[in-house]
Amino acid sequence: MCWFFKKQTFIFLFLFLIITNISASEVDTLLNDFTHKNDLSQKTIDENKGHLVLFTREKLEDMNAKTLKDVFKTAPVIYYHENRYGLPDPLASGAFEPYRSNFIRLYVDGVEITQGWMGSGVVLYGDINIDFVDHIEFYYMTPSFETSVEPAYLTIFLYSKDPKRDGGGKIGLMQGSRGHNTQSVSYGEEKENFSYMVNLSRTDAKREKIDNGTDRPLSRDFTRTQLFSYIKTDTQIFHLQLLKKDTDSLAGLSLDATPLQSEVDYLNLHMDYSIAISENWRAQFTYEWLKTNIRQMDDTALALGNQIFSNSLHTENKNSVYTGELTYKNTIGNNHITTGIKGRLKTLDLFDIEEVTNEKLVFDKESILSLFFQNQYVLSEDQLITLGLEYSKILRNGSINDDELYQLRLGYIYSSEKWNYKTYLYRTMFALDPFGRYLHLSEIENTAPQSTIGITQEFSYKNDNNYARIMFLMMQDKNGLLENDGTGKTQYFFTIFNYNYLFDINNKIDIQLYYARYKDIANVDRLDDYSGYFSTSNKYENFNFYNAVVWHQNSIDYVHYFDVTSSISWNASENLTFTLQGENLLNKAKETNLFRINPTTGALLAPLSISPIDQRITLEMEYTF
């Protein structure tokens, strides 16, 4: 009898535990469903902006991503690179151009960050602290004209946190290898009729030195102070951003990468104001200002553009950008129409070189006026056709030719609960950026715009636990702008495969595979490029675990590169978290060549192979209040 009751009790307890555990997952399912459907990214992603690689807030937290570089290095197609000045320049060749990445554009809360004369904001913001960011969207290929003023192959959208979900304050402190340290503080609040957020961070980046065969290894250390702030209502928003960055600029202008002094300091101000005037009309205004001080010295000649300096160069330059946009939206029948006008004025206010007297600015103004029209025609509940047209007129002073750019974008989107399909046809034109034109004025002042035609396709499937997507992209250039000795008719083919699997609310894996084939690029007839990304995110009790590897290989050297990241976070309480993270643990992250020239003979020296990803261990504390 006693045995019978014990058995009954055991069976009852067993069933109770099963029922409790099954029922507990019901609540988890509801929480998971709410999280995914109400993630802030669901409110900002636009299927018509292009082909998306999304980093949700949850993903960024799992990755413990602290800078845009941490995210960028995992993205396909265009990897994170740095140029010979140690600046974010994903399309850098390692040669002597000042900057190559104007085909990549950066936006914060839908407003572009530019550097005026330098072009893309990626040059300064490409590795910024992203403590203020909620989620990040990478759109590949030509973006919709509603958001872009200047054309791009890749547009990166950073969206800031919302005080309704991230109200209150947060303090973050990080200490890492070589004395690398970061401090950040933020505060946000939602009031009755408005909300605001302020984020301030300071980074003292102590990075790996690069051996250049002398007793003065190359340095790319920097200090950066960054302010991000906004105030918004239901219909208006104002952003104020400040960035001060003082850098050791790696090889700088030294031809053989042995500078005696290589420093560049930046001070950048960005302000923007946007207003929804009515249900149909919106306006946006932006002002940006950048001051740059360059200090370079070598024991041999330095080259800047097509000018040679004895052995020192000290410059100060300032530039401003003014942008205004007016957009009209309306729905007429099945037509969702957006049209508008955009204007951007870039001015080079100062370019002062100590070593050159009476330097006169011949070319110091460039303005862009664009008109665009976009129609998304709804064929049915789950299909639409999109057509976009844009005309841009670029006006320049200094007797430099003006340019006219014509952009075309035609697409079809099918979107159901589980299956999605997109295809686009593009014709895009790019003009040379002002700074590159300015430095080589006599040679390339009237360089014609580049034309690119492209076609893309994307298929995806998702259900509760799985997400799979494959993309194909093909493009061909005419009159390619990036300096190379080819015909300027580079052909590109890319394919990207993504697969995400959710074991349960606490455990998931992400896989990404990428292949590219280039024809007639730089001095190479054909280049094959491969990369992969694999990550696991796991949560157990108060601990979070993240492990990831980024793999690269290409047909230039067939070397396998592996960037391994691993982190463990301990949620000591609801308000306090500690994280131990290792980056580039095997010290085998992708390297790129930095070219060198013998200043005496003009012969090419063996390039330096440098990885933009430092091997580093960090310990971080985060406290919310």
Partner: protein, 138 residues
Amino acid sequence: MNVGVYALDTQSTLNIYHEIFSSLLGSQKMKVYTRDKELRQVFKHSKKIVLSDTLANSTIILVSSQSDLRRYKKEHIEKLNHIIMFATDYRLLKKYDNIVGAFYWKKGRSQLLFIKHRLDKYHIKLAPKYRAFIVDEL
């Protein structure tokens, strides 16, 4: 350009709030008082939730901000003992002992939390499926 509030997904929001309210209220009607514009917009679509225009006429009060809490304290909410208070911001749990739990965002994930001794004050006993979401104290 992104301006303004972000609208909630109706069905998933109703699903979780129906679950929370029914677990707290038992057989009582879901008469909800909230000043949150987004939630009011979502609750209008519910067949189970009735939006209340006054504190006294509600069975559950959602507290979404410090200013909400200050307003309710001014109206002596502690005298309305039959009304359950629930928060949408974790920080509010520390500000007022009568708030029995919270449904809030933390690092991109939605979180659910109940405080046991506060539930006991209201004589609320949650189903076993909520065991993982109950803490003894903050």
